[in-house]
Structures are given as C-alpha cells and as structure tokens.
Symmetry: C2
C-alpha cells in the first residue's frame, strides 16, 4: 500500500530516514568517545529503542516510571529515569525494576534522595544516582558548584543509593547556530564550575550526562561530558530544522492527512488538528504555523482546532480538492507522536507495517 492510501490522519515514519538519523548520532558519539543514552520520550516505542541499543547506545533514558516499565517489558534494560520521581507508589514500582537491573535516577534534592533510599531499601534494590545541576535552563537542577557536592555526599551515606555522577539538560542551547554557539559558552562555564567543585572535594564523577538534539553535535566542546541523551534526533521536526540542526529530508515522521472541506473561499481544511499534531507552536525560525506541507510548502497551515487544520490557500497556485492527500511535518514531533497509538512504517513511500507507540500516555 502506498502511504497516500492509509486511512487518515496517520502518523508515519520513513525507516530509511530513521536509520540514517540513528547511524549519524551513533557515529558522532563513537568519534568523540561519548556514550549515547538516547531519550525515548520522542518515539515511546520499544522497536526504536532496540535499534538504538543495537547501534551501541549505552542505555535508554525515560522521564516516567511507566515508560521504564514498557522498555523493561520489551527486554530493554539499563534505564536512566532523567526525572526527580516523587511519590511512594511510583518509587515502589521503580525499586521493583531496580531490583533486577541497573536503574539510574537523576535528582536535585535531599528529600527525593531520602524517598528513593527508603523505596530501594524496602525492596533490597539499589538506585544509581545522578545529581542534576542547572546548566542555564533554570528548570531543575542545583547551582553548578558546592551544592551539588553536598548532595552527592549525602547520597553516598544513604542505603540503597549509589552516587554515579552528574546530569543536566542543556535545553537553553536553542535557536540559530549563532545563538546556540553563544549559549554553549555559558553552559561550558557551568560545567567547569561543577567539575571544579567535585575536583576540590576529591569526589570521583563517573558519569557526566548532558545533551539534547539541538546541542548534540556540539557536545564534544563540553569539558568532562561523558554521555548525551538526545531524543528528537530519531525523527526530527520543524523546530529542529529551523534551528539548522537537521535538513528537511532528515524529518522521518510525518502526518498523512486528507483535505475534507474546501467550502470556505481561501481555505482547505485537513482532517488533522491539535489532537493529531498537538497544539505546539513553532519555537524556531518563522515561529508561526503548525506544520510544513510537503506537497506544497508555500501553503501555510495557519491554525488548528481539535480535528481541523486550516490551510490558507488564498495565494496557492495549487487547486485543493476534497480527498487530496497531503503529508505534513509537525512542529514538535515528541508531543505529536504522543497523540498516537500506532505509527506506520514506510520505505520508499510504501507501507511496511506498524509499531505500537507502547509508552504513549504513560503519564506516571
């Protein structure tokens, strides 16, 4: 079946592009001696995680215990929960996973350390702990200095916990190449200052985990970094493209959609809206619009309702008819994929099968 014959809206992935994206990141990490612990939040799909592990990933990153459970159930071990998990029910589930395999957790407070220790001890498990520092995003993470050392020292004294290293999410490295070049300078200063504090304290830091898709290929510039955790690079999206961090041809995930109405002059309405793309604005480049129409890039997708996408065809040379099938690259592929229970697999535009987005909706 051709992808244009799929019932719509449908989420699709071009396997050739996916494999190329995976190969490229794996090669970059090998070249620079960095471990790759990709974040599974983008694909939420064990089959893609397996492809990442097969290409030499050192483990997998998740944000939620439920995501970890899905990956473990698929036989994928070595999990980093890059999230300061809180709540006894979730911590008990996580300790159950940690009982039989390596589970790392990133934290930035003594309260979370105590709770993790309690949960680990109750099930005779061990959590490896990364202390999260703030590289400039100002989201989570301690100030990069003695505060991190103090938390690491407390962790070392708690039963069921083993201090393994440091973690940060450099989401502030964002924007044009020039903007990202400027921001990484500040990030490097913050890395230096946290490493210096651990050096002074004579504490070994085995893992220093960073990375994001827009910053990934700049990671070798960061002193002390041992691994990166990009997520979006598997599929890429318009945010990545407009930052110059991928080509349009590197966008592997697209929505196949159908024009369902041309009754209003100047409009073609497609059967994909905020419940199929997510309602994410574009946070890079023109910072306007809700997707890139592959067949007619000059026709803007100007607005979304839940199940309707508004194409402004007033200045389009193409005639839009009810039944026309279009393919659209989403603004933010991670929130888009999270709308779908399945993703259709394409090679050369032909449908090869489908994967279940098994960790979709694992909010806890």
């Amino acid at each position: 079946m051709d992808s244009h014959e799929l019932p719509t809206p449908a989420l699709t992935v071009d396997l050739d592009v996916l494999e190329r994206n995976l190969d490229r990141m794996a090669a970059y990490c090998r070249e620079h001696g960095l471990a790759l612990r990709p974040h599974t939040k983008t694909h939420k799909t064990p089959e893609v995680a397996r492809m990442q592990m097969d290409r030499g990933a050192s483990g997998l990153t998740v944000a939620k215990v439920g995501e970890a459970e899905v990956m473990v159930a698929a036989g994928l071990d070595k999990i980093l929960v890059a999230y300061p998990v809180w709540g006894s029910e979730k911590l008990e589930r996580l300790a159950r996973l940690a009982h039989d395999r390596e589970v790392l957790v990133s934290i930035d407070s003594e309260a979370t350390a105590q709770a993790l220790s309690h949960a680990a001890h109750a099930l005779d498990a061990t959590f490896g702990i990364l202390v999260e520092f703030d590289a400039g995003l100002h989201r989570c993470g301690l100030s990069p200095g003695p505060e991190c050392v103090a938390l690491a020292q407390k962790i070392s004294k708690l039963q069921g916990l083993k201090f393994r290293g440091l973690m940060t999410f450099p989401g502030n490295i964002w924007g044009t190449k020039e903007e990202r070049k400027q921001e990484i300078k500040k990030v490097i200063v913050r890395f230096e200052s946290v490493m210096e504090a651990f050096g002074k304290a004579g504490m070994e830091v085995e893992i220093v985990s960073g990375g994001s898709t827009p910053s990934a290929l700049m990671s070798h510039q960061i002193p002390g970094l041992t691994e990166i955790r990009p997520g979006t690079y598997v599929y890429n999206d318009l945010n990545t493209y407009y930052q110059g961090a991928c080509a349009l041809e590197d966008c592997a995930a697209k929505i196949v959609t159908t024009v369902v109405s041309t009754a209003v002059p100047g409009r073609a309405m497609i059967d994909a809206g905020s419940k199929t793309f997510s309602s994410e604005s574009l946070h890079a480049g023109p910072a306007t619009g809700f997707g890139h129409v592959v067949e007619d890039p000059d026709t803007p997708l100007i607005a979304l309702n839940e199940e309707h996408g508004y194409l402004d065809i007033a200045r389009s040379s193409r005639a839009f008819r009810v039944g026309d099938v279009l393919t659209v690259i989403p603004n933010h592929v991670c929130t888009c994929v999270n709308m779908y229970d399945e993703i259709f697999l394409l090679r050369g535009g032909r449908v090869q099968g489908a994967w279940r987005v098994a960790a979709r909706g694992k909010v806890r």
Copy 2:
C-alpha cells in the same frame, strides 16, 4: 483515598460538579424546546455519554468514526458525526454502524455526498445528512444561502442518503460576554439567510443544529435552531471561565500534580507538562499561562515542557516544597483529557473509582 494521595499526574473529575453541569444544560434545553446532542469530544467516555442520554439528550455527537464505534460498542446509539468524513475505509466502517441504527453525518460538498452514498449503498445502509453552513467561523460549511439548497437537492437524489437538515459550528461566538453578544447578531443573520433560502425552495428542514459551550445559553436567540451540540460544558475549563461562560467552581476536571523540584531559585517545578495538560495556550481572559493553581491562584504556571510545568514562585507567599500536591485547572479541557487513558472520579475530594477514556486517541 483522598485525591491528594493519587499517584501524579492524575486527571480527576468532581462528579458533583459534572452532574450539576449536565443538569444545567439539560434544563436550559428543556426550557427552550431545544434538543441537546452533546459533543463527546470533551470526555470521550461512554459513562459520561450515558449520563447525558439519561438526562434527555437526543443523541450524541462525535467527530471521528472511531469515536462513534466506541459509543456504539457501549450501547449508545443515535450518533451524529459532525465531520465531513472522507476515505473508503472509514466510510465502510461508518456504513456498518449506519446499517443498524440512526447515523447522521454533516457534509459541505457533493464529493463527500457521493462517497457517502456509495458506502451506504454497498452495505444497504442509510445516512441521514445535515448540510453544513458557515455561520462565520470560516472553517467548514457552505455560504448560508442557495448553495446549501443546491447541495440538499443533490443529496435527496442520491441512494443511501436522506437529507435531514442543517448544521453549523458557531465557534466564532467567543470571547467576553459583550464580544459574544456582538458576534451572535452576525450569526443570526446567517441563520436567517439560510432558512430563507430553504423556505423559498419549499424544502423542509427537520433539524437545524448549532451550539458550542460559549454560545450555548444564548442559543434560544437564534431563529430556527432545533438543537445544540456543546461539548466542553461537561467539565468546563479556563477558556470557558475567562469568557464568563462558567464559574471557576463549575470546572469539574482538574490535574492533580506534585512539586518535584525547587532547586532553581524562584521556581517550583511540577510533574505535569504539555504531555499532561496539552500545550494549549489560553485563548480568553489574560491569554497567558497554562493553568490555574487551585491552592495558590496567584502563582502563575508560566511555561510547560513535555513533563515539567514551571511555577513562577518569585512573588508567592506560599513556601513550595518537593512533594507538595497541587490541583490545576487546564486551559482547554478537551485536549487535556485526550492525553489520558483514565480519569479518576471524586466526590468530596475522595476517590470513588475511575473511568477509561475509551475514545481517547481515536484519530480516525
């Protein structure tokens, strides 16, 4: 269990508020002789649809064939698909439903009429058809006049179709009470003009379907209207509240969330982000922020990442600690509910059970 003891993030509904919202809309419709065919897109939950039917709803509205299938599987018949469905696979599924029960579909093109006719005929089914006109939103729908009559006449000649009336979505009635009062005047003119065209043609119009939550209680002002299809009113949300179309106490659905990090000065991070609220901006009132924190309304939720919500606590008098449980009213409840596989039921703050959001993710 108290709602604050739920593993977070958790979607909850206060059943007392839900029932009051359902009763109020049912009473309004009874009082004004309007049928109520509520849109299930908000709750996507057969249990809520059943409560609507039990309160006298004339049927249910859906946007997707998959949603219709979920409602039918739960024993709920009388479905309006308020969407110009396109595609042979979906139309065949819809015809299968229509074979045994009343299924109405709204359309605005002859192409869709032909495709529906073909699908109905192949399975010896009948679709009731509503012709969609544009009441001013400029999304779908023919111009309100002779074009609608022409399409209705074509429908009347097609096998497997029965022209039943007119449909519009008055989503342009939006904003403050004053803005909505001004907009409904224009909507009324458009209703008059389409009714006049059918009158001139001597064609009977059995059903005239309109309504949305912000316009619902103004519906009796619209001449010729026979029914309304509000959706959001079951749960309400910040968009509804800031339009003055409900009180804050009428917001039945809330996210229970936990503070997971206070490491960055001026910030408290919660474990709910764009994958639990959806990334919808606020489209009414202050038009800023991503939710209303019930326990501390003056503390703004200023940004969302996928699994993180950013509380700006710089000017807050409250001390935020890791582990604090908060409840948040979302901007747009329809896209929010669509993130979850289950919704927890509360009475007096105590958890009574949970419903499956069975039609979640039914994108086709």
